[in-house]
């Protein structure tokens, strides 16, 4: 069994004097899709930020490709993150946004890659319109494209389906299916467990500061079976 791409052990994050979550154990293998569900305000966004190293954890650690998540050097192209903020420049066009990030990520021929992604996210018609004129759904799709642009091996998305209409959901679901087929690792958060047909999610729920496994073997069981076999 290959090494998990993302592994969190005993992860805890405080907010003031209270813990947002603690004792979080989580693992995402290549080709695995993980879903963390939870109510609004329970800390899903904080969890994603702490898992990928954007926020420092107060206890425990999160390892990406075996290294501490705070050490970004060298693995930036291999991790794609979607947060609540779009990370898009409102006064640039969709194409300009993608090309800019393409340049930063040293993608060969950024304009071709940009066109491809705009096509795929059904934004081709709006590619030369400024992001500030986009609807929430369009912005979300473009933000996802931005995260996926460097073809990362690990993708973390905070509520990717929020604000999407049925067509948008279908596009993103297809994207997830495709990524899993390519042995990428995906972790998304959502309000409630999703059924995406072909994709089998390992689901967890974040509630009252703890992460509970809802389906699939729990991380501990999985670890135990790994060491046994």
């Amino acid at each position: 069994m290959s090494q998990p791409i993302l592994e969190a052990r005993g992860l805890a994050k405080l907010f003031g004097a209270a813990a947002v979550f603690s004792g979080v154990d989580l693992k995402v293998d290549p080709g695995e899709a993980v879903l963390v569900s939870g109510r609004n305000g329970v800390g899903k966004s904080t969890l994603i930020k702490t898992l990928c190293g954007l926020s420092a954890s107060d206890s425990g650690e999160s390892l990406i490709f075996g290294r501490n998540c705070r050490q970004h050097r060298g693995i930036e192209r291999r991790v794609g993150v979607l947060t609540h903020q779009s990370m898009l420049y409102p006064n640039l066009t969709a194409r300009e946004n993608l090309e800019f990030y393409g340049e930063l990520y040293s993608i060969p021929s950024p304009s071709t890659a940009a066109s491809r992604w705009l096509e795929r996210m059904d934004l081709a018609a709006a590619s030369d319109k400024r992001v500030r004129s986009f609807s929430r759904g369009m912005e979300q799709r473009l933000a996802i494209a931005r995260a996926m642009l460097p073809e990362p091996e690990l993708i973390l998305m905070d509520e990717p389906f929020a604000a999407l209409d049925i067509d948008g959901v279908a596009i993103v679901a297809d994207l997830i299916r495709d990524s899993i087929a390519h042995q990428r690792a995906i972790l998304i958060t959502a309000h409630a467990p999703l059924d995406l047909g072909a994709v089998q999610f390992t689901t967890y729920e974040l509630a009252r500061g703890r992460l509970l496994a809802l389906s699939g073997p729990s991380p501990r069981e999985r670890l135990r079976s790994l060491s046994a076999g």
Binding site: S55, G74, E76, M87, P90, E103, L104, S106
Partner: protein, 223 residues
């Protein structure tokens, strides 16, 4: 180098597209100069000193507004986060922001200089040629200090009020040197005559560009 160029190009494109900052700044500079002209009726004796002072007041305002805007625009929508996650040197971000702030200031300064020449009936030509390098040295130093400090204040409560409080005292050496050298240039002095002021400005620029470059990492680490 690539990242620096990409970010700078992006910032310039954004500014050209919206242009509201530049226009506001030019308007603000004009008003400042107007007030000074009204307060101190142009007097040939004191023209050089007055013009120099006016120019540098405008420069400071332009600089602070410019740096704040450059960094706040980045924070909008979490773009700064995206820059930090990208496989680029933090130093490139600093250099690009510095360059953008500097260019922005120089544009505003150019407008101010033109207005100054008109309001105070100064003659163009050699004096202007000597004035420009002085203003550019000052602008570079200011951009260096203010880019770094704006990165701090843009994430602090009452940050926009705090920025001038932090920047201006630190900028004093370059300010003194800049105003004096500008006044000398406008009065017709040669570079040799203002050598000591120029040396101070160059030392200031080198010191703070390097310090900013080295310390920038510490002011943008997200938590």
């Amino acid at each position: 180098m690539g990242a620096f160029a990409a970010i700078l190009r992006k910032d310039l494109r954004l500014e050209l597209r919206t242009g509201d900052s530049t226009i506001t700044l030019i308007a603000l500079s004009t008003l400042i100069l107007l007030v000074l002209v009204l307060a101190f009726a142009p007097d040939p004796q004191r023209s050089a000193d007055l013009s120099a002072g006016a120019l540098w007041i405008a420069l400071i305002f332009a600089g602070m507004l410019g740096s704040s805007r450059a960094l706040i625009a980045e924070r909008e929508n979490g773009c700064m986060l995206a820059l930090l996650m990208a496989p680029i040197d933090r130093a490139s971000i600093y250099a690009a922001k510095l360059a953008a702030a500097f260019i922005f200031m120089m544009v505003a300064e150019a407008a101010s200089i033109i207005l100054l020449m008109l309001f105070f009936n100064l003659d163009f030509g050699l004096r202007l040629a000597r004035l420009l390098p002085v203003v550019m040295l000052g602008g570079l130093g200011f951009a260096a200090v203010s880019t770094l400090l704006a990165a701090i204040t843009s994430r602090t409560r009452a940050g926009d009020l705090l920025l001038p409080v932090l920047v201006v005292p630190v900028f004093v050496p370059a300010l003194i040197a800049g105003v004096k050298a500008s006044a000398a240039a406008l009065a017709g002095a040669t570079f040799a005559a203002m050598a000591m002021w120029l040396k101070i400005m160059i030392a200031f620029d080198v010191l703070f560009v390097v310090a900013g470059y080295l310390l920038f990492d510490y002011v943008v680490i997200e938590d």
